[in-house]
Symmetry: C2
Subunit: 197 residues, 2 copies
């Protein structure tokens, strides 16, 4: 089992979301999706926003790197006008779907909207349209996403991330072992497969 911690606003999480289902299936690994809010994690480190915004030079680099990485991975890329994009509703829906068969497809769609189509993924009509597109019971899922238990769960999941020492996204766990960034996804999957064999 691989735990996959991510936020829809995180650009490097985009790279992982787009390939993790297939990569994990090839290695016989089960993915546990762990959506959380990266904002409060940054805030607890004293950062009012993403380090890619706070550090100008790193930010400039990251958009060049993203363009190259997306081309290499064969996925779309358009630098979002808003970054990091808030995605509270989208993440609550992800919590509803975390163990559902539609989770990976839903996440890929939300990530593509943010990072390949530059859309406001936190807007209710956008989330609703995605659910319809995936032929899911949108009204029911949205009602659940807006419920108190799910709101609480997103807060708790974010606190759990902090308790685990998570300082960025994407973050992977194989048991207690932490792997940071899309560049470590393959190592994390390989570590899972070793445990299996």
């Amino acid at each position: 089992v691989l735990d996959f911690w991510f936020d829809f606003g995180s650009n490097y999480s985009y790279l992982s979301v787009m390939r993790i289902e297939q990569a994990a299936a090839m290695g016989g690994v089960q993915v546990r999706w762990k959506p959380f809010l990266l904002g409060p994690v940054f805030a607890s480190m004293g950062w009012p926003t993403s380090p890619f915004v706070l550090q100008k030079e790193k930010g400039t680099y990251v958009w060049q790197d993203m363009a190259r990485q997306c081309r290499k991975q064969g996925i779309g890329w358009r630098q979002p006008r808003a970054f990091p994009r808030s995605a509270v509703l989208a993440l609550r829906v992800a919590l509803v779907g975390a163990e559902q068969p539609w989770m990976a497809r839903y996440c890929r769609r939300m990530m593509s909207l943010n990072f390949a189509e530059d859309r406001d993924i936190d807007a209710l009509p956008v989330v609703e349209a995605v659910l319809h597109e995936l032929a899911l019971p949108a009204a029911e899922i949205l009602a659940h996403a807006h419920s108190h238990p799910i709101k609480l769960e997103l807060r708790r999941q974010t606190e759990a991330a902090q308790a685990l020492g998570i300082f960025g996204a994407p973050m992977f766990f194989v048991g207690p072992d932490m792997y940071w960034g899309n560049d470590r996804l393959d190592d994390a999957l390989a570590a899972c497969s070793e445990v299996l064999s």
Copy 2:
């Protein structure tokens, strides 16, 4: 041509130093070695030391990651008791050697001393011993390293790094294109080979 910016105190530069000569040769790429001081670059971003020290969670992670990456790469690893280690003299010698045939060997030896043997690499006897070990004219090289022009050159090279927007190490450049981190060395080499073909 690949420009390779590094500091002996940088742990991820260690991973690149240990493999860049061979990897570049395989791709028919020439490496231009660019030793610089990472400390002033961090200082200009408002950081009194490495972010791996300033951010406790990230620091904890980095040493786990280093152990795994070194094992994967088949190189030694011992977490240095002093981090980031100052290496001003060692870097001045690297400036003397930057275009010499012994440069890659010298850098691998200094890096191994820091990250596999936990030695104080900035101490004169240590640098001297390495030069002797490599059968180089130690007295002559050290006299050159201690000269005013070389001291000035290290300062200038560090300013040049900042002017290029360098915010960490290792950093690679293929023409104007920046590649950050050991994880991007292969992409940078591939980009060089594309330019060549």
